[in-house]
């Protein structure tokens, strides 16, 4: 279901987040869920700092162990925002490691309920109830929709002794009107005594788009992504990572539910519906039209600075531009502390974005004069302020061989987004929280 953009949060939460996490750390090939020193020390992403010879003999060896052979993690999460969207999620991730290999998999279920402005401004409100019924949701009130999404992922990782590592990740997801399959391959290679690590990867996704309002609608969209960069040990306390990311998407990039009104209209809001007055043409407007392809590029710079053996600072800067002329700037910083039995990370993130070339707050002329038009607020000007908190601690430490180590983690993110000029929703506040438990055998 893609009735509303927040609606797809569940999809990407799993598809990109978990798929990557299940077999993510290519420099280790492991799937460590939580980093709390020193019992589960997966290597840092930039590069394991010791050479193979040092690894065998150094006192740091235990800090570079490849982690537990079997890891399982369960997470429950919730996303809610002032745009009346609620996402509940359950997720399970398992991984098994051998000498050079790691296999991992995940299963996730997301339940979404939304009465966002996209839903309430959907034309022919009664059809929104059809959406609810079609997805077997429990809500029958107007102006609200529900859906459930399922996803499975699988991953395989390999790490050689020479500093090379590869990961293969696959994912499949299904919901009422959206199905996708994905595959990705990424890897890394250490150079110069592991002072420099070269990173790279590519992925492809095939998507089938349908509509519960129009059984005849069957659209396709394919997407590809690529990435390249490096991580560099600069000083005994500093690591840089610079990465270039690219993405191309072709096919049906619109939402079959989002409509655009024309003219100098004014809205009236109610709990179940947004009415539009003063439109030119139909008050229901027309389905949005966007270009059939989109190419995006981004450069990401990260710096890790060690303030003390257990305290680190992580500034990050990202700039992007795409073929729809959206330019964005992201600046963030987090402070992290990792002790023997607990870990804390607090951060702030600033996001700024310019609008797509075809985006307008109101399309005041006749619809025939526009080639492209959208009412997607995320294609307009946008600013965001985000506060993040991660806390993890060890519930039980193994006391003998084959014991299980158990960890508990809590993740919170509060966000405030502004959409200057977007009449239907000037701002949105959200809270995203997850609680997880991890077992390491």
């Amino acid at each position: 279901m893609q009735l509303t953009r927040p609606k797809t949060i569940a999809a990407l939460l799993l598809l990109s987040g978990i798929a990557s996490s299940a077999a993510a750390d290519s420099s280790t090939g492991t799937a460590s869920a939580v980093a709390v020193a020193p019992a589960t020390p997966s290597s840092p992403s930039p590069t394991p700092p010791l050479s193979d010879a040092d690894y065998e003999t150094s006192d740091y060896a235990e800090l570079h162990d490849d982690g537990p052979p079997v890891t399982g993690s369960l997470r429950a999460g919730a996303y809610t925002d002032s745009d009346r969207t609620l996402v509940l999620r359950g997720l399970g991730v398992v991984s098994r490691s051998w000498e050079h290999w790691t296999l991992s998999g995940s299963l996730g279920v997301d339940s979404v309920t939304s009465a966002s402005v996209d839903v309430r401004s959907s034309p022919a409100l009664s059809k929104v109830d059809v959406v609810t019924s079609a997805s077997q949701g429990t809500s029958t009130s107007g102006g609200k929709m529900t859906d459930t999404r399922f996803e499975v992922t699988g991953g395989a990782g390999w790490r050689g002794n020479s500093g090379a590592a590869m990961n293969l990740v696959t994912a499949a997801a299904a919901e009422t009107d959206y199905t996708s399959v994905s595959g990705g391959l990424n890897g890394s290679f250490d150079l110069f005594d592991r002072q420099l690590t070269i990173l790279g990867g590519a992925s492809a996704t095939d998507n089938w788009v349908a509509s519960v309002l129009d059984p005849s609608l069957h659209k396709k969209m394919v997407a590809g992504g690529w990435s390249g960069g490096f991580a560099l040990v600069v000083t005994p306390e500093d690591v840089f990572r610079l990465r270039y990311d690219g993405k191309v998407a072709r096919g049906y990039l619109s939402s079959p539910y989002r409509s655009v009104r024309f003219g100098d209209w004014t809205p009236t809001f109610s709990a179940h519906q947004i009415m539009f007055f003063g439109t030119s043409g139909s008050a229901d407007g027309l389905p949005e039209q966007v270009p059939g392809s989109r190419i995006a590029h981004a450069a990401v710079f990260e710096w890790l600075h060690s303030l003390s053996p257990s305290l680190g600072l992580h500034p990050e800067l990202r700039v992007s531009r795409d073929s729809w002329n959206i330019e964005s700037l992201t600046a963030g910083v987090d402070l992290r502390f990792a002790a023997t039995s607990w870990r804390l990370q607090v951060g702030y993130r600033l996001y700024m974005q310019s609008h797509a070339s075809f985006f307008q707050d109101k399309y005041t002329r006749d619809s025939s004069t526009y080639r492209y038009y959208t009412s997607d607020k995320e294609l307009g000007d946008e600013r965001g302020h985000l506060l993040q908190l991660d806390l993890a601690f060890v519930l039980s430490e193994p006391t003998r061989a084959n014991d299980t180590r158990t960890l508990l983690d809590l993740q919170l993110e509060g966000a405030y987004y502004q959409y200057p000029g977007f009449v239907l929703l000037p701002s949105r506040e959200s809270l995203f929280a997850t609680l997880g438990i991890t077992w390491e055998l």
């Binding site: 927040p6 949060i9 990407l12 990109s16 987040g17 978990i18 798929a19 990557s20 996490s21 299940a22 077999a23 750390d25 290519s26 460590s32 020193p38 997966s42 840092p44 992403s45 700092p49 997470r75 994905s182 595959g183 990705g184 110069f192 005594d193 990173l199 990867g201 992925s203 996704t205 992504g225 690529w226 990435s227 390249g228 960069g229 991580a231 560099l232 040990v233 000083t235 005994p236 610079l242 990465r243 993405k247 990039l253 190419i295 981004a298 060690s306 990202r318 531009r321 795409d322 959206i326 330019e327 964005s328 797509a356 997607d376 946008e382 991660d390 983690d409 949105r428 959200s430 997850t434």
Partner: protein
């Protein structure tokens, strides 16, 4: 579109060149840090993603709520994405 596809393509090429140039400069211009000098970098606080699963989930929310954010396919990041708008 404010710019032609030709100009967009040239701009994309320049971005690639910049990344390559910075990579070469960074790789050749830094002093060697011996492995035994990197103890501070070995701690769990010095991982780019301290919690890979949590970081992935959080990033995925940003990809939905921010029009200019999309998933990376590099190591330590998203391996696949639906790419939906």
């Amino acid at each position: 579109m404010r710019f032609s596809q030709h100009r967009t393509g040239k701009r994309h090429g320049r971005v690639l060149l910049y990344v390559l140039a910075i990579s070469l400069l960074a790789g050749s211009g830094c002093a060697h840090v011996a492995p035994l000098e990197r103890e501070r970098l070995a701690g769990p606080a010095m991982r780019f993603e301290m919690d890979p699963i949590g970081a992935g989930q959080r990033t995925s929310v940003h990809e939905i709520t921010e029009g200019g954010t999309f998933p990376s396919v590099g190591p330590g990041n998203a391996g696949a994405g639906c790419g939906c708008n």
